[in-house]
């Protein structure tokens, strides 16, 4: 079995799988390595499915808008897999004047980048989504936002990459990268050594440990986010929902269940950074937050809760970058809890970067060497 390829990708999340797929379409040979036995078992299988532009940092918006315009629309068809993409808009809800100020500022930033986001009154928000509580006094509204199914999206990319000949090795934990004559060449796992001219590190927070072996560091922290899902309900509303203060976010899936996520605010001071078990606080907290905005959901039953790590970059946007000091190495990490929606676009431009084509979207805001001390 060949242990060499044009490109080795470390990490089989949405970023690794999407990049592998787009590279295979360009005729490159690709090996994907993941330490887990299951493909895409990191954040990519655990996220809330938000595919949104509004609320994003403006450095990230052009790439996200590219994905919405050119990739998400036809993704189910392209992958022969129902990724359940629904483009029914995003309401970010506010209950106080302060909330509305936050939302207006975000909306203004987004409009400056050419995104259609407007402020609507409480009554207008209730016209869009009649189930909202009367406490909501206003919202921002982005009609081109939406959501999708992260499980079928990630596995859909995997299935098609595999069909095009990409070789996936699971249960292969990468311990180090090695150079040969100044360029990247070997990827060492606990079992064996793989060889390629180019390597993409897309291993979430763990990218940090891997990159240490070639003297590169990306300043990120590791935080656990939590999610819950309800029993299936009759169709109620399909907008993506969020709030000014990020109390919770979520949507009703195609299948009928609601998927909601949120954070308690205590993530950074978690005692145990080894286990990814849900805490006993967060699902309860998320439930309380939801009921305040959607009293109608009080009696809906929760069937499952889970948690997943995010790789929070110190300045809030990812690194998508080649590294002149290690020719052949490309880095994609630090997605900061919103790497699913941008995943297809990120995979698309990373494949261009690896194929030495000019990326469709300028990536200079995502350089790996942009981080500076305070002064």
């Amino acid at each position: 079995m060949a242990k060499t390829a044009d490109v080795i990708i470390i990490g089989s999340g949405i970023i690794g799988c999407a990049t592998a797929y787009y590279l295979a379409k360009k005729g490159r040979t690709v090996i994907v390595l993941d330490q887990n036995d299951t493909v895409g078992n990191g954040g990519s299988a655990r996220n809330g499915g938000g595919v949104r532009q509004s609320g994003r940092d403006k450095r990230e918006l052009p790439l996200m808008m590219f994905g919405i315009k050119y990739l998400w629309q036809n993704l189910s068809e392209e992958l022969g897999t129902d990724v359940e993409y629904m483009q029914k808009g995003n309401l970010r809800l506010g209950k106080t004047e302060e909330h509305l100020r936050i939302l207006s500022r975000l909306a203004e930033n987004a409009r400056a980048c050419g995104l259609d986001v407007s402020m609507v009154s409480g009554a207008e928000a209730r016209e869009i989504c009649p189930y909202l509580s009367d406490e909501v006094i206003g919202a921002s509204w982005c009609p081109t936002d939406g959501h999708a199914n992260p499980l079928t999206t990630t596995l859909g990319y995997y299935k098609n990459a595999r069909r095009l000949g990409v070789q996936f090795y699971t249960g292969e934990s990468v311990t180090a990268l090695r150079k040969y004559q100044g360029k990247i060449r070997y990827v060492v796992t606990q079992n064996q050594v793989f060889e390629a001219q180019q390597v993409l590190v897309a291993a979430g927070y763990e990218s940090r440990e891997i990159l240490k072996s070639v003297g590169i560091d990306i300043p990120m922290s590791k935080l656990l986010l939590e999610t819950l899902v309800t029993e299936a309900q009759p169709p109620m509303f399909y907008q993506m929902l969020g709030t000014a203060t990020a109390d919770f976010y979520g949507h009703q899936s195609k299948h009928g269940s609601f998927v909601f996520g949120g954070s308690s605010g205590l993530e950074a001071v978690r005692r145990d950074f080894a286990s990814d078990a849900s805490t006993n606080l967060t699902a309860s907290y998320i439930s309380r937050a939801i009921i305040r905005y959607f009293p109608v959901l009080s009696d809906v039953k929760i069937v499952r809760t889970w948690a997943g790590w995010i790789d929070e970059c110190v300045d809030g946007v990812p690194v998508l970058s080649d590294t002149p000091e290690v020719p052949g190495l490309v880095i994609a990490c630090g997605f900061t809890g919103h790497g699913f929606g941008i995943g297809p676009a990120a995979g698309y431009v990373l494949a261009q970067l690896l194929a030495e084509e000019t990326p469709s979207v300028d990536l200079s805001a995502f350089r790996y060497d942009r981080f500076r001390a305070k002064f």
């Binding site: 036995d37 493909v39 596995l155 299935k159 699902a283």
Partner: protein, 107 residues
Amino acid sequence: MKEHENLRVKPIQWHSEPDDDLIICRCEEITKGEIRKAVCDGMVTIKEIRRYLRTGMGLCQGQTCGKLVKGIVAKELGVKPDDLEPATGRAPVRPVEMQVLGKESEE
């Protein structure tokens, strides 16, 4: 688990079987044929099957079909059912209303 992992690289050829229409996961109405097809498409762990097809994601959370699904996947891969990791159980064990779960911190 080394052997069946290689199946990610070496594709399994699809062939239909007479009982492919049999419903295996009743909550989500997923048939034996759909499960066997997913294995051919590269879904070789119980987690992958579950996430790709929704087997065991309905109201009973796999308490009824878990074993059956495992047997079908194992047979398709040519491994013993016990070689396959079970899907992770998730809290709450029984469905609970949002307002009940949300009351945890009331004085």
